[in-house]
């Protein structure tokens, strides 16, 4: 061979031969699917500097001729794959091998590969989904993941719910750090902008053992993307405007990846006014939100790495004016209204009380040393969380928060990994939560300092066709509490909490047949009662009643068993079926008391935290069917059945049966349009038939059907090739209310929404 063939891959860098010639260099390449190394045909390969486009042939090959030496950028696009950019220097004839992540065409997901074991019982929102959901809240972006729902209070305040568990039972991990805010309120959204992450993973099983927190079921993990090697400055903007709320979201990122130093900065701005239900404006439901993040990564020659990360988030959320109530009579009269009180006939951008203001800072440092196949990592992070909630009050006090909390937290982790088989970690978490005494209202939760000392170990090993994962964790939580009593005059009472809690997980993944995989998982989890469950006292608008903690609560203990089967039928059908049963001892829930509390403002329902034995049984089902070359069909179903075993009655706020159908048509090329995708989607949410009338004010709303249409394409025009997307949600402007949205007591959910997005890589 007189030529040296060097293989270039995106992740491992590049190389070149020495036989340079002036402007007669040939660039040849092959595009493979990174999952199974099969060639990818019909991928568009664009050489920016020359401005020419090529298509890969049936063998995944492409070639450019007569190139001059220099630095080039290739842009690789393929249906269902995130657009990929590569920078490389060309001095001589070169052959490249390009691997692309062919995730979104889900038929490829099932390929039975070693590194896909972890993907069982996990779901990832990749770049494409992030681009398409950039305007949504974190919780809303996850609602299309089977088994994930959202507990919400209006349009932008939402908390993810995984397999029926939310709030204190759900944990968000942002960049390896336990997100520390005021998770106890179902109307407290995680203080994170979706755009600050590169991808989001919902972890239901074993991988969750390495994270501290109270997650009984799943966790949501936000991770930054790698910054690929490229000596030039690159970036991305995502701009979206929406008709409902008459607002938009703008996200911009800049990054640069040098050999041993990479950095990225990003920011998001969001502004929406009053949303619109099919028939009326939802007064005071606007959002103003901003986010900024910066990260820096540095590697040294001796495999020492450092990463620094900073994230800032700030938001103002309006809450439907007609949902703020004085007492039980007000609440009942609000239920009877067809149109909520205070509804205006015009659009407004104003954000007034009731509203929430939140601000969050996160800073993190990671130091990592690798040697042989071992790795030692040390993380140190700090967070500051501020939350102010404003109610409608007398004498100009609406500008004074009714709830004002400030929280500082610290986390330090020391993690040792041996290849991928053994991992040991130690974690120390500290949290200081203080009520700012500006409110003029007795605080709902006391001041406290909490420490958690945790350690875990996990081990995995493959024995021929079976892979075993084992993990265990132990945590000790210590809290010092200082609480104002409700006696006259007010006094300070001090309490101390000490809880030991453990976790264990075991799972096996078996290749039951070619292209079929089965997962069996068993886990034990415990969590200490949270501060609000123990000590809350006062009127909580989030539950429309007086909430009382119960200092006698004990640990909540859960045992979950999961069975999952995933595989392919023929070449065109992909099936994923998952069933689980989650048994609880001491499940903590809010029990309405039989008597109303008489106050000068009239009667209020009273809720006290109690414990019971509970059982959550559920399942998720995914079917993907490739109907033809360009047509794909997908359906997902999920259901959870929750029961209080102590009294054999339903648990409250469990997600009802849901189904989605998606039909999509994809063509690689049409005139100047690339990767044209048209997607018709039908969402069905059933009525929650399984409910306990003593635990809710009114019956669950009836089931509903929504139809959505999305069209996306990349315009192969100009040098910058814009990616465009048009979407219409709730096309028929259907009137509906969602069981898991607290606003259902007062108003209809959102009407038709037209979305226009422009995503630009540069």
């Amino acid at each position: 061979m007189n030529k040296l063939f060097y293989i270039l891959t995106f992740t491992f860098g590049w190389s070149l031969s020495v036989t340079a010639q002036i402007c007669s260099i040939q660039l040849k390449g092959i595009v493979n699917d990174s999952h199974d190394a099969t060639p990818v045909s019909d991928a568009s390969i664009y050489l920016s500097e020359v401005g020419t486009e090529q298509w890969t042939d049936a063998k995944g090959k492409f070639s450019f001729a007569n190139l001059c030496p220099g630095t080039y950028h290739l842009i690789i696009q393929h249906i269902g794959c995130p657009t990929k950019r590569m920078a490389f220097e060309l001095y001589a004839d070169t052959i490249m091998e390009i691997n692309i992540e062919h995730h979104v065409n889900m038929l490829h997901e099932v390929d039975v590969h070693e590194h896909h074991d972890n993907a069982m019982n996990e779901q990832v929102l990749g770049i494409n989904s992030m681009d398409n959901n950039s305007q949504k809240s974190l919780a809303a972006s996850l609602t299309h993941v089977p088994g994930v729902n959202m507990i919400s209070n209006g349009s932008d305040i939402g908390v993810p719910m995984i397999h029926g568990l939310s709030g204190n039972r759900m944990t968000v991990i942002n960049n390896g750090v336990l997100h520390s805010g005021q998770q106890w309120g179902t109307d407290h959204s995680p203080e994170i902008d979706l755009n600050s992450a590169g991808n989001v993973t919902v972890v239901n099983g074993a991988a969750a053992i390495r994270y501290p927190g109270n997650h009984m079921g799943g966790i949501v993990v936000l991770s930054p993307l790698d910054i690929p090697y490229d000596p030039h400055l690159h970036g991305k903007t995502r701009s979206t405007i929406e008709s409902n709320g008459r607002g938009g979201t703008l996200n911009a990122q800049l990054f640069k990846g040098l050999k041993r130093l990479q950095w990225r900065v990003g920011t998001t701005l969001k502004h929406y006014g009053d949303r619109h239900s099919p028939e009326y404006y939802l007064k005071n439901t606007g959002t103003k939100q901003a986010h900024a993040n910066a990260e820096l990564r540095k590697q040294w020659k001796n495999k020492l790495e450092w990463e620094g990360y900073y994230n800032f988030f700030s938001a103002n959320y309006g809450i439907l004016r007609g949902s703020h109530i004085g007492n039980l009579t007000d609440l009942e009269s609000a239920f009877e209204r067809q149109i909520p009180y205070y509804t205006d006939s015009f659009f407004s951008n104003a954000l007034e009380a009731p509203k929430q203001w939140v601000q969050h800072h996160q800073i993190k440092s990671t130091l990592r040393k690798q040697w042989n196949s071992k790795m030692l990592e040390w993380n140190l992070s700090g967070q500051r969380n501020q939350r102010r909630e404003f109610d409608v009050r007398r004498s100009g006090r609406s500008d004074i928060p009714a709830l004002s909390l400030s929280q500082h937290s610290l986390q330090s982790d020391l993690i040792f990994k041996d290849k991928k088989s053994l991992e040991i970690g130690y974690q120390l978490l500290g949290k200081n939560n203080t009520n700012i005494p500006e409110t003029g209202i007795l605080p709902l939760i006391p001041n406290y300092v909490a420490f958690t000392n945790g350690m875990y170990a996990s081990y995995s090993r493959r024995f021929s066709i079976i892979k075993i994962d084992l993990g265990g964790r132990y945590d000790f939580t210590f809290r010092n509490i200082a609480m104002l009593t409700n006696s006259v005059p007010r006094e300070i009472a001090y309490f101390t909490n000490k809880f030991h809690h453990i976790g264990f997980i075991g799972r096996g993944t078996i290749n039951v047949a070619p292209k079929w995989k089965m997962l069996g998982e068993f886990s034990i989890k415990q969590r200490p009662p949270e501060i609000n469950e123990l000590y809350a006292f006062g009127l909580h608008q989030g539950v429309s009643g007086i909430e009382e903690g119960n200092a006698d609560l004990n640990r909540e203990r859960g045992i979950k068993s999961t069975l999952q089967l995933r595989g392919r039928i023929g070449e065109n059908i992909h099936v994923d079926l998952r069933g689980y049963m989650h048994l609880f001892n001491g499940y903590i829930f809010l029990q309405p008391q039989s008597e109303f509390r008489l106050t000068i403002r009239g009667a209020f329902p009273v809720y006290t935290y109690e414990q019971c034995d509970a059982r959550l049984t559920g399942g998720d089902f995914i079917l993907k069917y490739k109907l033809g070359k360009d047509w794909n069909f997908e359906t997902t179903w999920s259901y959870v059945h929750g029961i209080n075993r102590s009294i054999q009655l339903p648990l409250t706020f469990m997600p009802p049966l849901q189904a989605q159908y998606k039909l999509s048509y994809e063509i690689p090329e049409w005139n100047n349009w690339r990767n044209l995708k048209i997607e018709l989607e039908h969402e069905y949410v059933a009525k929650q038939w399984h409910w306990d009338p003593t635990l809710d004010f009114i019956a669950p709303p009836k089931g509903y059907n929504l139809v959505n249409l999305h069209m996306s394409t990349t315009l192969n025009k100009w040098k910058f090739k814009p990616q465009l997307r048009v979407g219409v949600n709730n096309i028929s402007n259907t009137i509906y209310r969602d069981y898991l949205n607290r606003q259902r007591y007062f108003a209809d959910a959102l009407g038709r929404n037209i979305t226009l997005s422009w995503i630009q890589n540069f």
Binding site: D330, N432, L442, P443, A482
Partner: protein, 181 residues
Amino acid sequence: MKAIKLIPLSILSIALFSCEPNDPVDPNEEELITTFNVDLEANGFTYTLNYTDLDGDGGNAPILTIDSLSANTTYSGSITLFNESETPTEEITPEVFDEANDHQFFFSSSGSSTFVYSDQDDNGNPLGLSFEVTTGNTANETFTFVLRHEPDKSAAGVSLGDITNAGGETDIEVSFDVIIE
């Protein structure tokens, strides 16, 4: 090497973190209404309906003081509001009076007694800090007083004292079992 040097720093930063929570500060609940007082005057005598709940929501039950009224008599009523959890006691009535446009009292009786407003806000709509009540025949009746914040005073019937379409948040809702003799 660097990692090892930084570990004491991490321990130090955790140690700087106090183990004791900040002592909560009494939030000075100046908005709290502990006492709702109605003075009813007729023929030179004053009768009182009083609701007092010093510790606010929860805790000890409220104390109600209720004078008996005479049948078929017109009383001129005036309402005063206090926060007695403060020292000295703070009168809240002026806060309602100053925001008369955003407040309205509603009166109702389970029997045949009737209420009419005798005051107005700047827009000529009723407020209800002053009113007249005319009792019916001898009976046991329940009088209910409701103070709404930000009601829709222009909604149908609201300026005549009908609460049905008023909306707004309830700041006060107190009932008295009154003996009319």
